[in-house]
């Protein structure tokens, strides 16, 4: 039986200057889920994340983690439950050496020296930075810093891992390895992962369920459902994955599939299934509605002339 990992009820937050950042947020996330929160710049993703581990405390006690109000938790318990990896690794790596930084959380949790040592080694090994213990952060590359920042959170062995823009500014190789790493943590250790992303092409690789945030929670659902909703995407300044768009175009030409693929891997799967199936080939043709359908479709994806 799955447990509720995160439950947020009617969360409101305004910045000190009165600007509303979050309005009536309701979220329920089960343990082991992979969640993405998407939304345009300034939609409140980071503010929401700061609530998730109690860095910003809500006065109404409405952020509940594993059945317990985060505001009531001691700092040790709080950081054991939820680990937040921030977007800019320079904000996250504040200690003089990588070892100190990765050890920061465990030491604050009051663990003994051997356990701290063990956790640092294992966290660094997980992100592939073994041997970097004595390095100073300003001598690392951006990709390495990003992984070190993740290790610094993994060393607290949190049950819920929250990542703000994990793939932003990374080269393709680092991006792919980070996505794989996050998914491994979810699959092998049952860690609930919550990511904020702009990169819609990578969203489906990291999430089974999406929340669309724009100060309020405007939508929630599986990726396919979210990306089918053109009005929703346009209103919130979001885009659909390229593969998804291409297959939408193909369906105007008569290509038939149950659910449109969201990534290149899914596309391969869909095509293989179709060609191996009854039809033995992909049949595309122009019928009477094709041009009309295409026009409607392209118009829907056009952000400039909404």
């Amino acid at each position: 039986m799955t447990k509720e990992a995160v439950s947020i009820r009617d969360l409101n937050y305004s910045y000190p200057d009165g600007t509303v950042a979050l309005e009536d947020i309701n979220i329920t996330i089960e343990e082991g889920e992979r969640i993405a929160i998407i939304g345009q710049n300034g939609a409140g993703k980071t503010t929401l994340f700061l609530h998730l581990n109690g860095t910003i405390k809500s006065c109404d006690n409405n952020v509940v983690i594993f059945g317990k109000d985060i505001g009531q938790m001691k700092s040790k318990e709080r950081i054991e439950k939820v680990g937040v990896v921030f977007q800019d690794p320079d904000d996250q790596l504040f200690m003089p050496t990588i070892f100190d930084d990765v050890a920061f959380g465990p030491i604050n949790m009051g663990l003994d020296e051997d356990e701290v040592e063990r956790r640092v080694r294992s966290a660094l090994a997980t992100v592939g930075l073994t041997g970097f213990e004595d390095r100073v952060p300003h001598h690392l590359s951006y990709g390495q810093k990003k992984r070190a920042a993740l290790a610094a959170v993994l060393s607290m062995e949190p049950r819920i891992l929250v990542l703000d823009e994990p793939t932003a500014n990374l080269d393709p190789m680092n991006r792919a390895s980070l996505i794989e790493l996050i998914n491994d943590l979810n699959r092998d250790k049952g860690i609930t992962t919550i990511v904020a992303m702009h990169d819609v092409n990578a969203v489906s690789q990291l999430a089974d369920r999406i929340y669309v945030l724009n100060k309020r929670m405007v939508a929630e659902g599986p990726p396919t459902e979210i990306f089918m909703d053109f009005d929703l995407l346009r209103e919130n300044n979001l885009d659909a994955p390229d593969v998804f768009k291409l297959f939408s175009v193909l369906s105007c030409f008569g290509f038939n599939c149950e659910s449109l693929p969201l990534s290149i891997n899914e596309a391969v799967e869909v095509l293989t299934k179709t060609i191996e199936g009854d039809e033995k080939h992909v049949h595309l043709h122009i019928h009477e509605h094709t041009h009309e359908d295409l026009e409607v479709l392209m118009h829907r994806y056009d952000h400039h002339h909404g």
């Binding site: 700092s75 320079d90 604050n108």
Partner: protein, 253 residues
């Protein structure tokens, strides 16, 4: 641009590098205090020679240290001119009715020599261990928490701020800005410094949030593994001895 990496040569190997960081900080600071209270030029000169000797033993590149000594010299050298003119005493010579005194020159020389000795000493100390080691040693020596954390963050973020400054500078050069000392140039530079302060302030807030996220409670805690060996005790004893000897000598002579 040169990063101000005081610990660039911390990975060299010398008796000074191998000296236990805590003992090094205590004994070098003791030597420093002792040297700046020396009252005789001859003894001050010996102190300077001793500092130079330590620098040689440490194998740190002399130029690396001298470049930093220069900065201190800019502040101290003017004393050689100002003090002879202001301190009263026996006249050495006079120009346009303003007389330079022997005592003034003597005091100024004493100050210059003492400060050189002190600066070389402290640079040798800082240059011969990694800065994070220095911070940890200060931490184990129970230096005030606030001070230790300020040093820690300064060391961590000075490079980040330099990078931010450089990228702003490049962005401005790319848009054709030439630094000039006219009103326009100065106001642009002022804006840039202001921008840097705003950026640092915002970064400070984000770093603090990251710290809270990882259980920071105001007490810096870190793990250190320093161990005094026999050579450390011997070296400490010698340095403390010299620090005291300098003053016995002064009193007796």
């Amino acid at each position: 641009m040169d990063y101000p990496e005081i610990d660039r040569y911390a990975s060299l190997d010398s008796p000074i590098h191998r000296f236990d960081p805590r003992a090094k900080i205590i004994t070098f600071v003791l030597l420093l205090i002792s040297f700046v209270f020396v009252q005789k030029i001859s003894v001050a000169f010996l102190a300077l020679l001793f500092s130079l000797l330590l620098l040689l033993v440490s194998k740190l590149p002399i130029r690396f240290i001298l470049k930093r000594v220069q900065i201190v010299l800019i502040f101290v050298l003017p004393l050689l001119i100002i003090m002879p003119l202001t301190v009263k005493g026996t006249e050495l010579f006079s120009v346009f009715g303003i007389s330079a005194t022997r005592e003034g020159l003597w005091y100024a020389s004493l100050i210059v020599i003492r400060s050189m000795a002190a600066v070389i000493l402290i640079l040798t100390m800082l240059g011969s261990m990694r800065f994070d080691t220095t911070i940890k040693a200060l931490y184990t020596l129970k230096a005030p928490k606030t001070l230790v954390q300020m040093l820690m963050f300064t060391y961590r973020y000075i490079f980040v701020i330099i990078d931010e400054f450089l990228s702003m500078w490049r962005a401005m050069s790319a848009k054709g800005f030439n630094p000039r000392t006219n009103m326009y140039g100065l106001s642009v530079m002022g804006n840039m410094v202001g921008m840097l302060i705003v950026k640092s302030y915002e970064r400070g807030e984000r770093v603090y949030q990251a710290m809270i996220s990882r259980g920071y409670t105001g007490n810096p805690k870190t793990r250190t593994a320093f161990a005094m060996r026999r050579t450390d005790y011997v070296l400490s004893a010698i340095f403390v001895g010299i620090a005291i000897l300098v003053h016995i000598n002064t009193v007796m002579m």
